[in-house]
């Protein structure tokens, strides 16, 4: 089986189902690594007087356990499920951008490997807790922390690309009749989840960048008193708290669908649940400072965050009540997935209500940093999210693999899990005085810790049993029918596993909720509107319709694949390792990146990559917008947040600095003004180029783009002159904070200018060689130039005038 073509298929695939499987398998690997680490430190905690895993090694284990479980297991597992299921659930043939989807995956894999590589470098892996608190993350750690920071930046890139993809897919790729009110709760959960990742990750990436710079180039963002601990706290927790809901919402969505199927009811108060989860998504950005209740912040600010934290429990309470009320007057069948979800709800109730305790500042003063917090979030993460996801896996497993599994064993596994979760985490509530991340502790806590460790081993047994169930199903499982659960939904109307192209014919959801698969020519003949109204009206009924996954005609599917996403991922892996391994490796990584980008450009130039565009779709209120433009704006918004975080770092440090001489003492404002004018002029040229292209005058358009290239080059030249002068005066990136910020911010901006120049040069070359780039692609580059310019309108006054 392991032939070259098999390997090649998985390395180059851009099919959403393949990538979904890759995501899930990879995330389970990271789960196993993180689980082994947990067993190691739980063993140490059962024998606090022995030295099984102490000091830095203990700290490395808890750190990597946390990071892997949250960022490299749970979230990617959900993304994997979403990858596989969302196109099926909404009636699309793939995600909106299949190649970017592959890129997301390869960046994710690279980032995880970079993180784990930390164990093999001098000083070991990151060892300051998954929160990587400053300034110890700079002062007291080895090279592993650099790798952790690189991994964080890479996974930020991965989820940003993924967010763009999922937002555009759900907005623009739904089958006709699949209105917002009809899409399944799992898809809703993923949508809310990616909307949180969208803005939560950029500040974290900025924090990670500051960490790398501090460790490698001698800046002092995280070690100085002006930045330091509080700066990291804000950047980290602005990400960290939404991240909790990022993990929770897809699981909660899947739980809602599963309860609905096995209770044989519709989800209770579905519309209110959706609204509630949307409110929770918005609120999740406004609670982060409850992680900083005792850092010494203004009491008024903390009171506000205390109230928002209490408020956010209400939407989740509604969701929980809705899940329970769905059972009311249902016909509940006790199948394995349902039982997992029920257990998940029970643990969620415990984990959720203990969370309310921590919303009160005075109570939180005692809980902060103790095992009470550990118990609370493990009840949510393991009890609710993991059990909910296992329920989801057992629910959709027959669909994905086409095999049934041993349900009796799955129920036994659930029993083990229930006992394991309770034994592991309930004692930790009672350990509410014990500090987190202590490998040795006073005698009085021994008994409870031993029960907890015993529970962890029960969990281990449960997960091993789970692996056995899955492997057994793959090897010996009976073939699964298309719909083993008598479930509603589009994905259950196609064979298990679904064909490469998902459907024969175009799925249409009629107004009464019934699903039909109509040949495209029939759909054209009758009209989409009429098909939607056709139930109970035989005159309008299309011909050749099959209710079950295949219209009369076979769909002609264009396979698409690409090697470049894997190459980009590989290059980031090599470059990341190169930061620690040395220059040759770093250069090798850059070379691979150059090859990958060139290959991507050639593929684009030769128009080699074809995506299946849906001819019929439901995309209110995004109809009339090109998917590329929606995607670009979603991406640009996260770029805004990236630069915004950098600017807020500047404002933060500045407002805590005692002395800050005005910028014009070091930087000539007239040179800065000159550069501002140059940049504005370049964008004017580009906009005029777009105008010419719009009217078909491509040569004039290319000429104006050349103007942009010249002005961009000029801008970089002036910038280089300024830098050179400063270096000559003895200033550098490790001078005082004012200069550190100057070099880092203008440096990142200059990198963005260079990237824009490369893209513009490619665009001109394409035009001059006789190809006509699409107007949308020209506009998209214009949007990019706009953001480069907007950033400069902030950087210029920040460094030259104030």
């Amino acid at each position: 089986m392991a032939t070259w073509s098999w390997v090649k298929r998985w390395l180059t695939t851009t099919n959403h189902k393949d990538i979904g499987i890759l995501y899930m398998v990879t995330s389970i690997y990271f789960f196993l690594v993180a689980g082994v680490l947990a067993m190691l430190f739980r063993t140490q905690l059962a024998f606090p007087d022995k030295e099984i895993l102490v000091g830095s090694e203990f700290n490395q284990a808890v750190t990597i356990h946390g990071l892997l479980m949250l960022l490299w297991f749970m979230s990617p597992f959900e993304v994997g499920l979403a990858n596989y299921l969302i196109p099926l659930q909404i009636g699309a043939r793939d995600l909106a951008f299949p190649r970017l989807n592959a890129l997301s995956y390869w960046l994710y894999l690279a980032s995880g490997l970079v993180l784990i590589a930390g164990f093999f470098v001098p000083g070991g892996a990151a060892d300051m807790g998954w929160t990587l608190y400053a300034p110890q993350n700079v002062l007291l750690t080895g090279d592993g922390t650099i790798l952790a920071a690189v991994a964080i930046i890479l996974i930020t890139a991965s989820v940003t690309v993924g967010t763009v993809n999922f937002v555009v897919t759900i907005a623009k790729m739904r089958a006709p009749g699949m209105t917002w009110s009809k899409i399944p709760m799992f898809t809703w959960g993923v949508l809310f989840s990616v909307l949180m990742m969208w803005l939560a990750f950029p500040p974290l990436a900025v924090g990670a960048l500051a960490l790398i710079l501090d460790k490698m180039l001698g800046t002092t963002f995280l070690t100085s008193l002006e930045g330091g601990a509080l700066l990291w706290d804000h950047l980290f927790w602005f990400f960290g708290h939404p991240e909790v809901y990022v993990l929770l919402l897809p699981a909660l969505g899947a739980m809602a669908d599963i309860v609905s199927v096995f209770a044989r009811r519709q989800l209770y108060a579905r519309r209110f649940v959706i609204i509630a989860l949307f409110i929770a998504t918005a609120l999740s950005y406004l609670v982060w400072m409850h992680h900083m209740f005792i850092t010494g912040t203004s009491l008024t600010v903390r009171k506000i965050f205390s109230v928002t934290t209490a408020l956010i429990s209400i939407p989740f309470e509604l969701a929980t009540l809705a899940l329970i009320m769905t059972l009311y007057k249902g016909k509940v069948v006790y199948r394995a997935p349902l039982l997992y979800v029920i257990a998940g709800i029970l643990f969620f109730i415990i984990g959720g209500s203990t969370g309310v305790f921590q919303a009160a500042i005075i109570l939180d003063r005692a809980f902060r940093g103790t095992y009470w917090v550990v118990a609370h979030f493990h009840y949510i993460m393991v009890g609710a999210v993991l059990l909910g996801l296992l329920g989801a896996l057992y629910f959709w497993w027959p669909k994905i693999t086409g095999r049934l599994y041993n349900e009796k064993l799955a129920k036994i596994q659930l029993l083990l899990l229930g006992v394991g979760v309770t034994a592991t985490y309930l004692p930790q509530f009672l350990l509410m005085d014990m500090p987190r991340r202590y490998y040795t502790y006073p005698e009085e806590w021994l008994g409870l810790n031993r029960i907890s460790t015993l529970g962890a081993f029960i969990l281990l047994a449960a997960f091993l049993l789970g692996l056995y169930i899955l492997i057994d199903s793959l090897v010996r499982g009976k073939p699964a029918p298309p719909n083993p659960w008598k479930a509603w939904g589009l994905e259950w109307a196609v064979p298990s596993p679904p064909p490469r192209h998902n459907y024969d014919g175009q799925p249409v959801v009629r107004e009464d909720g019934s699903i039909v698969f109509v040949p495209e020519h029939e759909l054209e003949r009758i009209g989409v509107e009429n098909v939607m109204k056709s139930s109970g009206n035989p005159e309008l009924a299309p011909k050749g319709v099959l209710p079950n996954g295949g219209a009369g005609v076979k769909h002609v599917y264009h396979e698409h694949w690409s090697m470049t996403p894997m190459l980009v991922g590989l290059s980031t892996l090599v470059m990341g390792l190169g930061l620690v391994a040395g220059k040759p490796v770093l250069l090798l990584g850059l070379a691979i990146l150059a090859v990958a980008i060139t290959k991507w450009a050639i593929d684009d130039y030769r128009e080699r990559f074809h995506e299946d565009e849906p001819r019929f779709r439901e995309d209110w209120p995004f109809s009339g917008t090109n998917k590329l433009r929606l995607g670009m704006w979603t991406f640009i918004s996260s770029e805004v947040f990236l630069f915004g975080s950098l600017i807020s770092v500047y404002l933060f440090i500045r407002s805590r600095s005692l002395a800050w001489p005005p910028g014009y003492e070091h930087h000539d404002p007239y040179i800065g003004l000159l550069n501002t004018i140059i940049l504005f002029t370049g964008t004017l040229f580009y906009s005029l180029a777009y105008l010419y292209a719009k009217h078909g005058k491509m040569i004039k358009s290319a000429a104006l783009m050349l103007g942009t290239i010249v002005t961009g080059g000029l801008f970089l030249g002036v910038k280089a002159f300024e830098w050179w002068e400063l270096f000559a005066q003895g200033y550098g990136i490790n001078s005082n904070l004012q200069f550190q910020l100057y070099f880092v911010l203008t440096g990142i901006h200059a990198l963005h200018v260079i990237a824009g120049l490369i893209a513009t040069i490619y665009m001109v070359a394409k035009i001059l060689s006789g190809r006509r780039p699409s107007l949308t692609s020209i506009l998209m580059l214009g949007i990019y130039w706009g953001i480069v310019e907007i950033v400069w309108t902030f950087l210029f006054p920040m460094f030259y005038l104030m």
């Binding site: 010494g296 329970i324 109730i349």
Partner: protein, 219 residues
């Protein structure tokens, strides 16, 4: 002295209120869940509830939110009410109500705690052990000389603040009437010696405290 309520008394009071509310609410919801599960169980896979879409369909009808909304409002009021009701106590705990009897500076370092006594008591420092008299209101002003630590005395619930370089946070306790020994821990991972960053709070009789001061002054 006796009229000052020690912060941990309020802490325990509020904790118990929360616990009662949580047990009643969470317990009620759990019982509802279990009741529905048992009441509506069936083994007939083909029996559908009234609004089940069924295979090959999608949900279209939306159940109204019904009486659940009252439950939601009530619990919402309880949760928010509890949170806001804690604010006066938070202020009491955080804003020292009157001048403390003694202010001790605490500096966290890798890996230990340094205590500096006030000038009028000799201004000496001790490491990993702080001796204080019984029935006294003591303010700790906490900072760190290197990395992020967190100073906490678990026996005195709520007596915990972060020790951050460049920032001074304070907390206060009222020592009990009886002598005793209490653990002080570091609550933020600060490096290889984090687990060993344990100090002792020794509460002694006023006489013994006087002897302790003299012994320190004698050095």
């Amino acid at each position: 002295m006796a009229e000052i309520v020690p912060p941990q008394e309020y802490w325990w009071m509020l904790f118990n209120y929360y616990l009662i509310a949580a047990v009643i609410l969470a317990g009620g919801v759990t019982m509802l869940l279990v009741y529905f599960l048992l009441r509506y169980k069936t083994s007939n896979e083909d029996e559908y509830g009234e609004d089940y879409p069924g295979p090959g369909r999608l949900p279209t009808r939306y159940a109204k939110i019904g009486p659940t909304r009252y439950l939601l409002v009530v619990t919402g009021i309880i949760v928010l009410g509890l949170t806001v009701a804690t604010f006066p106590y938070t202020e009491y705990v955080e804003l020292t109500p009157q001048t403390p009897d003694m202010t001790i500076w605490v500096t966290g370092f890798t890996f230990g705690w340094r205590f500096q006594y006030p000038e009028e008591l000799g201004g000496f420092t001790t490491v990993n052990e702080v001796v204080v008299p019984t029935n006294t209101m003591i303010e700790f002003k906490v900072t760190s000389q290197d990395v992020f630590h967190a100073f906490g005395i678990p026996e005195f619930k709520g007596a915990k603040v972060d020790a951050i370089p460049g920032i001074v946070n304070s907390l206060w306790i009222v020592t009990p009437d009886e002598p005793g020994e209490y653990d002080i821990f570091c609550y933020e991972l600060c490096g290889v010696g984090h687990s060993l960053m344990v100090a002792k709070l020794k509460v002694v009789t006023p006489d013994e405290f006087q002897r302790f001061l003299e012994e320190k002054a004698g050095r």
